[in-house]
């Protein structure tokens, strides 16, 4: 038995034998790796060793949480539901499909002014944009302006691939179900003057830069957009063809930013999508001063049939994006829990350390 401990002595005392490598034995190499003696950190999970971790987590998370919470609370956000399912709602009249186009106006008041850039969103609820078949129902090469895909869209687009023997551009269920309400915002400047001041809404810059410039492209060609989309037809549900989405050539066709935003299918059934930007005009004037506003809605998009809801959201943003109280609360909660657990461990450690020590001694 003593023999097999020889090996280590040799290591400690210097390189093992076999001078000149003459002796070719089957003796395994005595390296730390092969002998599984790599230097290692061996943490042992006990109350005593782990409790610093808990305290550190607590100490880090709680300040972060407070920071996030404060930031989130500083974000101004107003949400106006205009689904119109309630009889009192001005948009209630639009639920029936008879009136087209149906325009309704909702009044709302901003208690505090919105500083900085304000984002205008539309929000949909109970809308399953993440449904498997729905998500698949698009043709990215068509959207990228591939001429062949334009005229012959992918099979994934079925049944919104062709209409009356003409390829649909853009094809697929996602495009077909594009949000098509028009929202306009007016400020009632002062009570005396009832003429509302329209708020300038910027239509560009709401989509990802890469989407607008790389992923989505209009079909190539020299002529007008209409010519470039020749031979295609509009999606069934659309009122006008894709090349007429905007008067601006740079924002029409597949590169219409509203369209691009819509094509980014939402992860969850309750979602919002960026609709317009309200840019800050100057440092001295709030972007949206406190006061009364009108929201003018051209009501086209039917959601009540599947119990969906539509909202308009105005929100400022911070470094961490839109208003989200959850993260802050989560950080604070987890931090506190961790701290508490740390205290529990401290108590346990204090109480049982002696006994465990004695146990070790008896070993």
């Amino acid at each position: 038995m003593a023999m097999n401990y020889n090996a280590k002595d040799e290591v400690d005392g210097g390189p093992p034998c076999a001078p000149g490598g003459t002796a070719k034995t089957r003796r395994p190499d005595n390296t730390a790796f092969k002998q599984q003696r790599l230097p290692a950190w061996q943490p042992i999970l006990t109350a005593g060793t782990v409790l610093p971790t808990f305290f550190i987590i607590g100490l880090i998370f709680i300040p972060i949480g407070i920071g996030i919470f404060v930031t989130s609370n500083n974000i101004r956000e107003i949400e106006i539901d205009y689904t119109g399912t309630e009889p009192s709602s001005p948009c209630n009249k639009c639920l029936s499909l008879d009136v087209t186009p149906c325009i309704c106006t909702i009044n709302f008041t901003l208690e505090k002014s919105f500083e900085g850039n304000v984002f205008m969103y539309y929000g949909l609820s109970n809308f399953y944009q993440n449904h498997r078949r729905y998500v698949k129902s698009r043709d990215d090469s068509q959207l990228n302006g591939d001429p062949s895909a334009l005229l012959n869209p992918s099979k994934e687009c079925e049944p919104y691939r062709r209409n009356e023997d003409k390829p649909i551009a853009p094809c697929g269920a996602i495009a077909n179900s594009m949000f098509n309400d028009t929202l306009e915002l007016f400020l009632v400047a002062n009570e005396s003057d009832p003429t509302p001041v329209p708020i300038p809404l910027k239509r560009k810059g709401i989509a990802w830069w890469t989407d607008k410039n790389v992923k989505f492209r209009n079909p190539p060609g020299g002529g007008s957009l209409e010519e470039r989309f020749k031979g295609t037809t509009k999606p069934v549900n659309w009122l006008k063809p894709v090349y007429m989405l905007d008067s601006d050539e740079d924002n029409s066709g597949f590169i219409n930013e509203d369209f691009i935003v819509w094509m980014r299918t939402a992860a969850l059934p309750t979602f919002r999508k960026l609709y317009r930007l309200i840019e800050r005009r100057s440092d001295f004037h709030p972007t949206l001063p406190a006061g009364r506003y009108y929201l003018n809605i051209t009501y086209n998009y039917p959601v009540h049939s599947f119990d969906g809801r539509k909202r308009m959201i105005l929100s400022t943003i911070s470094w961490m994006g839109g208003k989200n109280p959850f993260l802050g609360i989560a950080y604070i909660t987890i931090g506190s829990i961790s701290f508490l657990l740390g205290v529990v461990l401290l108590v346990i450690n204090h109480k049982y350390r002696n006994s465990s020590n004695t146990a070790d001694i008896t070993i």
């Binding site: 003593a2 190499d29 061996q42 409790l51 399953y128 698009r138 079925e158 990802w208 008896t362």
Partner: protein, 1492 residues
């Protein structure tokens, strides 16, 4: 040209005798063969295999289909392919079909590459073997030409030289040996290192000239190729119509090596895959480990879980569709034809899609990962330097790659004894001659010094390099020169034992002769006596009765050494000079062929040349004179006329043509003449001599005799030459050799003594047998009394030897008168010539001869325990392993060894089960159970206490703990075992065995060994390990869960069958306790982690279904989904699975009880599995809902949301693994870093690669956007921590409040880092201080022991009517024990008190009352042995009991057994015609009963 060179036509005649196919290899004088016949033969020859070895599984063409076919045998692969193919169904596809196929293909490819590589290495080794060269006779060139092995065909003539390996199964036709003998070493085949004798086929041995293949005209018929190494049958029909039988003695087996024979020629009988060696070679086995079985069970649970999830989703989707379909929801996509699916159909589709999406739950990479991890574990075990044996330059070999973790769960060890626990190296220790003991103290000191030197050397310096640099010759000689010196001082301290070991290792030719066996320091007293004998005899040589000049004692001494020297089958060789071919023609092949011849030869009573002038003269007497009876005849010249010497070789040999065995040294000796010169010469001679023995005992005895200057110098099959310093060379005519067999347990030689011209029988055998065959001595005259005294003294010494654990042999002698001999010879010749039951008759004949012996003395040989065996056993015991020793040895030896290696403890009670019938066995078992139960409450309580105790008691080994509660041990012999293994009794037996600390099964057959293992395995559902070294252990090794072979003395057979091969028994400790534990713990943790990982990942997807209408949508990109397991998260777990050490090796060795965690499967229990799954569910909830809430009602899209979820999952996995990892090496850090980096870089590259590809996720620029989003970082920070907080907390709590043994061990290891960093020193010192072997040899002090329960006794006495048993005179309350709880010393006692066989036909019950002598000190052995044998007349009347014989007490078991009765019958028949039937019958029964 290969075909043309074949020796001759072959035919493959089936049908003449249906059961056997005949292989005819005939020859005709070559070129002249009729064309038609040759053609026919050639056609037939195609059926016969050529000698090409092909072990590869595949060819280039067949690789792909065959390998795929084999891979699809694995159910998991079929499953994954099925899932992948499901993706091709458009209605249910979840991923791109091609992509889904990728992982399966990857796995299949990896496995295929592995298989290909293995097959290629097999091919390479095949190629190497196939291209070995050998000499084959070429018919065209009419000479032997060199050919590759693969070109050899059946029927070829092969010429082999010394030390060549035999390429095929060859029938020996010619040998350069004068007697037509050939020696082969079969170590490659069966591992036995001794030389085996093979004989030239009858009819060819008489050939005068060199064998000429062209002249070969015989036809050979033989049986079909089979794998029975021990049998070969066939016949050869010579051209003259003569028919001669072929036996295995004629067959040279492929793989063996020719030794000591210059050259042989043979004809190939079986070639290639038909050879016995290859037929015996069944490829590697696939064993499934227990953990893997359990894991498969859990995989099934996962499948169930998967189905449940899918079903749930399907129902959910059906409801969802039903709800939204009518509502014209914008997001509800109709079918391609515009119609909408019914909810039920949608549900069915959803079900299948869900199965695809959630397939990750059944981890495709699990099997591959496990294989990789096991491979690495095997690599590390292989590389462990502590498992490397310097002495034999061998490491541990892992032959089974997939059961490493089973090593950590072993509960039962079944061990062989000889060669496994012991070295199987016999060392002469002591002897007693004519009642006087020679203790050989100097020899003992020398042996002790060997150990000392050994350990000293280990402490001093590594010597490997220097030693091995020396050539083998140098070290050989240094040993040989020293060995003759008889003074103690010469025993070198300088040349260390390791060097000697190395030398012995290098001298591969010599079987069983370590320097320890060779160097024997003679006892000075005895040496003096021997030399006195020698001197006196030298003086009195020419007198009428030379031996009468010696006192009876000296005469005994002389005979004793003569017997040691010649009563064996040792082959004397000089390594470099094989016996050369001398063709001598004799009329008489055997020394005495007929009675007439015998009588004729022995009529002249006085020999002329027997005591001829000098030893040299005798030596130079050539072959013919030996053959014709040692020059007994005055008319010897007549026979010498036939002498024809044919010297083939060497000028110097031809110079002494008269010398039969030309050797340079003899030549020189002859010229020398003077006595001192002879002596010198003799020494020189001896230095060149080597002894090849069939068993190591024989060699040890011959070496011992040589130490007393009584040197065996030559052995031919009819004469033995012994060299003495003064007497010179004595040549004994060897009349008969009655070989050893296990029933007689002795061997005898019949010789004619050259000094007295008497016919002597020397017998050497087991003491129990020989002592009963002694000449009954009358107590009347002084001489008889003296003899009696000698015998009793000898018996006492024998007992003493047995106590010391020595193997004892008795040496006896019988002088035959010529009439007796003639009488015996007649019958013996009859027996020899008989055709039927020849062996039976020879057995009888031997029995007749070996009676009325005169006791010369006894020897004690030590079969040394291997280094570290007691320590290893103690450690393994501490580790909670039950050790059973299954041995074929006799009970006494086994028990002695068991005590020596601490398997049995003196504080323990030993239950001995020796039953002679089923009923007796049942009764005994019942009693023992009763007895055990009566003790049970106490012991179980104790056990519970031991188990519950959280603390270690390392300083108190179990032996001290068990002093208060003596644990039981069970000893059972083979017969009883056979009964106990019957269906009806096996449960009881097992129950009993389970209660016992250790179990010792003696006299068990290989089959029984495997049955025991099988029984324990199946009934106790225990993990078993079998360890053995010999062919007899193979079946046991194969049956056990883990088979371990010792790659030591006995070689390859056990190793070939084993899963692991270790060089020594002691390595088992590290293999099991360290590597077994590690492997198990690593793999268990890895498997659990795997399940956790997949469940957690799938959980994320499942929760998402609640928010996507159960549409089987996945927020995680399909690429991530498919490759996550395979690429991103696999490496860290592999590293942990390979390298993690939960407890350092030193601590594991120090606290073997930590091994119990593996036995109890603590790390991977169903509870652990489900807890793990619950934790996975919780973690997935956290990891899903934190991103969910963080991104609730935001403008995030599906895959931009899914990517952080994936990242969170990855971080959670890594952190989880971090909590589970016990040792963090830089490799772990590297792997974790690599995983993270890989994920992000792959994601970034993937997200940049293509703007429009990979529908539907189309992840262009997603990751880049995310990296600019602070929320991404925030959730990546909080989610993993929140998910793992509970786990960490509970781990910490558990670690503090309820730490497991393992955790304690780890803590302890951390606290005492210094002891662990240098564990070797402490261990080494510990062992050195213990000095196991010396302790063992000093004899043991037998302490007082527990009294024997009387319950059983009374029960038995009821059973067997009245038993009377007179208590021993010691006044002990000795009980009437028909039951077995005996203490070991009783059995030792019993061993000595061998009672003469008293058997009564008709089956009386013999009972021995074991004297309860346990209070007697060891020295009490001096008390006169008595035979406590009680026959019970009443028993005879009981019919049922008449066949039952109960006996107890070891070593004195006298039973009439069924088999002995069976033996009697043929004997009786035979003996009825003989003149002295009673005596023989009696003798036979004595033997037989003793045997059992």
């Amino acid at each position: 040209s290969g075909r043309g060179s074949r020796a001759g036509p072959r035919s493959y005649l089936g049908g003449r005798k249906p059961p056997r196919a005949h292989r005819r290899a005939g020859g005709d004088p070559g070129a002249g063969a009729p064309k038609g016949e040759r053609l026919r033969m050639r056609g037939c020859a195609l059926h016969l295999a050529d000698n090409r070895l092909k072990t590869t599984k595949y060819t280039l063409l067949s690789f792909l289909p065959k390998n795929l076919f084999e891979q699809f045998h694995r159910l998991a692969n079929v499953y994954f392919v099925f899932i992948a193919l499901l993706n091709f169904v458009p209605a249910v596809n979840a991923f791109q079909p091609g992509l889904a196929l990728a992982p399966v293909l990857f796995i299949l490819a990896v496995t295929a590459i592995k298989d290909l590589w293995e097959d290629y290495s097999r091919h390479r080794s095949d190629h190497e073997i196939n291209h070995l060269g050998c000499l084959v006779f070429s018919r065209e060139e009419k000479k032997y030409v060199s050919r590759f092995w693969k070109e050899i065909h059946v029927g070829d003539f092969v010429h082999l030289r010394c030390n060549e390996i035999i390429p095929a199964d060859i029938l020996l036709l010619s040998s350069s040996d004068p007697d037509g003998l050939c020696h082969i070493e079969t170590a490659n085949l069966d591992g036995e290192t001794n030389l085996k004798r093979r004989q030239v086929v009858r009819g060819f041995s008489e050939l005068v000239s060199e064998f000429n293949p062209l002249m070969f005209t015989s036809v050979i018929e033989c049986e079909k190729p089979n794998n029975d190494l021990t049998r070969f049958r066939g016949c050869i029909i010579h051209s003259n119509g003569e028919k001669a039988g072929l036996h295995k003695e004629n067959l040279l087996l492929r793989g063996c090596t020719i030794r000591n024979t210059e050259a042989v020629v043979g004809i190939v009988i079986y070639a290639g895959h038909e050879t016995k060696a290859l037929l015996n070679n069944s490829g590697p086995r696939y064993k499934r480990s227990q953990l893997e079985r359990q894991m498969n069970c859990d995989v099934l649970w996962c499948v169930l879980l998967l189905l449940c999830m899918s079903l749930f989703s399907a129902v959910g989707h059906g409801l969802w569709v039903w709800r939204y379909q009518e509502k014209k929801a914008l997001f509800n996509v109709p079918e391609s034809d515009g119609s909408s699916l019914s909810p039920a159909t949608a549900a069915v589709y959803s079900f299948f899609t869900m199965i695809i999406v959630l397939q990750v739950l059944i981890p495709i990479s699990l099997y591959v990962s496990i294989e990789i991890v096991k491979l690495c574990q095997v690599y590390f075990i292989h590389q462990d330097i502590d498992l490397y044996d310097e002495e034999t330059d061998s490491q541990l070999q892992c032959r089974a790659l997939n059961i490493t973790e089973d090593l950590g769960q072993i509960q039962y060890i079944f061990s062989d004894k000889t060669g496994t626990l012991t070295e199987n190296k016999m060392v002469f220790r002591r002897c007693t001659v004519s009642g006087i003991e020679y203790s050989h103290d100097a020899n003992a000191q020398r042996l002790a010094r060997y150990q000392e030197v050994d350990s000293e050397e280990e402490e001093v310096a590594p010597r490997v390099g220097t030693v091995s640099q020396r050539g083998s010759i140098g070290s050989h000689q240094s040993i040989r020169i020293t060995h003759r010196s008889q003074s103690i001082k010469s025993h070198r301290r300088s040349s260390s034992r390791a060097e000697a070991k190395r030398a012995s290792m290098l001298s591969k030719h010599t079987a069983f002769s370590s320097p320890m066996e060779k160097d024997i320091t003679p006892d000075p007293k005895l040496l003096e006596k021997v030399s006195e004998c020698d001197r006196r005899l030298a003086v009195a040589r020419h007198q009428e009765q030379p031996l009468s000049y010696l006192s009876p004692e000296l005469s005994d001494v002389f005979d004793f050494f003569i017997a040691l020297t010649i009563c064996n089958t040792v082959v004397v060789t000089s390594p470099d000079q094989p016996r050369q071919k001398v063709r001598v023609r004799f009329e008489l092949k055997s020394p005495v062929k007929t009675i007439e011849d015998f009588l004729r030869r022995f009529t002249p009573s006085r020999l002329t040349s027997g005591s001829s002038n000098s030893s040299i003269g005798n030596l130079s007497t050539n072959k013919s004179s030996h053959k014709s009876g040692l020059g007994l005849l005055s008319n010897l010249s007549q026979e010498n006329m036939f002498l024809k010497l044919e010297e083939r070789l060497g000028p110097q040999a031809s110079a002494i043509a008269s010398n039969g065995y030309s050797s340079h040294t003899e030549d020189w000796a002859k010229e020398c003449g003077a006595e001192d010169c002879t002596k010198e010469q003799g020494q020189h001679l001896e230095q060149e001599l080597r002894y090849e023995a069939e068993s190591p005992d024989e060699a040890a005895l011959v070496y011992a005799a040589r130490a007393y200057s009584c040197t065996l110098v030559d052995r031919l099959h009819d004469q033995v030459s012994v060299e003495l310093p003064h007497l010179g060379r004595l040549t004994f005519e060897l009349l008969h050799t009655l070989g050893f067999d296990s029933i007689r347990k002795r061997m005898s030689v019949v010789i004619r003594h050259p000094l007295t011209d008497e016919i002597n029988v020397y017998t050497k055998g087991a003491d129990s047998v020989v002592m009963d065959l002694l000449l009954p001595c009358s107590s009347d005259d002084a001489r008889g009394k003296h003899q009696k005294k000698i015998r009793s003294k000898t018996q006492n010494y024998l007992n003493l030897y047995a106590v010391e654990g020595l193997r004892t042999l008795c040496i006896a002698k019988r002088v035959l008168s010529k009439e007796e001999y003639a009488c015996w010879l007649q019958r013996h010749l009859e027996a020899e010539s008989s055709v039927d039951n020849r062996e039976e008759l020879l057995f009888q004949s031997a029995l007749r001869l070996e009676t009325n012996l005169h006791l010369l003395g006894a020897t004690g040989i030590e079969d040394r325990l291997q280094d570290g065996v007691p320590e290893t056993i103690a450690k393994l015991r501490q580790a909670g392993l039950q050790i059973w020793v299954l041995t074929g040895d006799k009970q006494e030896t086994a028990i002695n060894i068991a005590y020596a290696c601490k398997l049995l403890d003196h504080g323990e009670e030993v239950i001995t089960l020796n039953a002679e019938s089923q009923e007796a066995c049942a009764a005994l078992l019942d009693q023992c159970l009763h007895y055990v139960k009566s003790k049970a409450p106490h012991s179980t309580l104790e056990n519970i206490e031991n188990n519950v105790s959280v603390q270690f008691c390392p300083q108190n080994p179990p032996s001290t703990c068990s002093i208060s509660n003596p644990s039981l041990s069970l000893v059972i012999d083979g017969r009883s075992l056979a009964y106990a293994l019957e269906k009806s009794l096996e449960d009881k037996f097992l129950f009993l065995a389970k209660q016992c600390h250790s179990v010792l099964c003696c006299r068990s057959t290989p089959l029984q060994k495997s049955m025991v293992v099988k029984l324990v395995r199946s009934k106790l559902k225990a993990m078993t390990l079998a360890i053995g070294d010999g062919a007899n252990d193979v079946s046991m090794i194969q049956v056990a869960d883990v088979g371990v072979g010792i790659s030591g003395q006995e070689g390859m057979q056990a190793v070939m069958a084993s899963d692991f091969a270790v060089p020594r028994f002691r390595y088992l400790e590290r293999l099991l306790i360290v590597h077994g534990h590690w492997c198990y713990s690593r793999l268990a943790n890895m498997v659990l982690y795997f399940f956790y990982k997949n469940t957690m990942f799938v959980g994320l997807l499942f929760w998402f279904q609640f928010y996507c209408g159960f549409s089987a949508s996945a927020m995680i990109d399909q690429w991530y989904l498919i490759f996550f397991n395979l690429l991103f998260s696999s490496l860290p777990q592999l590293v942990t699975g390979v390298l993690d050490k939960d407890v350092p090796a030193g601590m594991l060795l120090k606290e073997p009880q930590l091994y119990k965690s593996g036995q109890n499967m603590e790390e991977y229990q169903p509870r652990a599995f489900w807890l793990n799954m619950a934790d996975a569910a919780f973690q997935s909830l956290v990891c899903f809902f934190i991103p969910y809430l963080a991104y609730y009602d935001s403008n995030v899209d599906v895959f931009t949301w899914g990517t952080p979820v994936t990242a969170i999952a990855l971080f959670t996995f890594l952190l989880h693994l971090g909590i589970e990892t016990k040792t963090w090496t830089w490799l772990n850090w590297l792997a974790c870093g690599f995983s993270t980096l890989l994920f992000f870089s792959v994601a970034l590259i993937y997200n940049t690669s293509c703007a429009t590809c990979y529908p539907p996720s189309n992840p262009y620029w997603t990751m880049q956007m995310l990296l600019g989003d602070p929320v991404f970082y925030l959730i990546c920070l909080i989610a993993p921590i929140a998910a793992l907080l509970p786990r960490l907390f509970f781990k910490a709590l558990q670690g503090s409040l309820f730490p497991t043994q393992l955790q304690l061990g780890r803590q302890l290891a951390k606290k005492l880092p210094d002891t662990l960093s240098t564990p070797k020193e402490t261990f080494a010192q510990g062992q050195l201080s213990e000095q196991p072997r010396t302790e063992f040899s000093e004899g043991r002090i037998i302490g007082p022991s527990e009294s024997i329960s009387k319950d059983c006794a009374t029960q038995t006495s009821q059973l067997t009517q009245q038993l009377t048993c007179s208590p021993e005179a010691s006044g002990e309350p000795s009980t009437v024990d028909t039951n077995m709880p005996l203490k070991e010393n009783t059995l030792l006692k019993g061993l000595g008190t061998q009672a003469p066989g008293c058997s009564r036909p008709g089956g009386a019950v013999m009972l021995e009352c074991p004297r309860d002598s346990r209070r007697e000190p060891t020295s009490a052995c001096h008390t006169a042995p008595l035979s406590p044998l009680f026959s019970l007349p009443t028993c005879g009347s009981l019919n049922w009991i008449s066949s039952l014989s109960l006996a107890s007490g070891l070593g004195s078991v006298f039973q009439f057994s069924r088999s002995s009765l069976q033996m009697d019958k043929p004997d009786g028949e035979f003996l009825s015609s003989s003149s002295q039937p009673d005596q023989d019958l009696h003798g036979l029964q004595g033997q037989v009963t003793d045997y059992f």
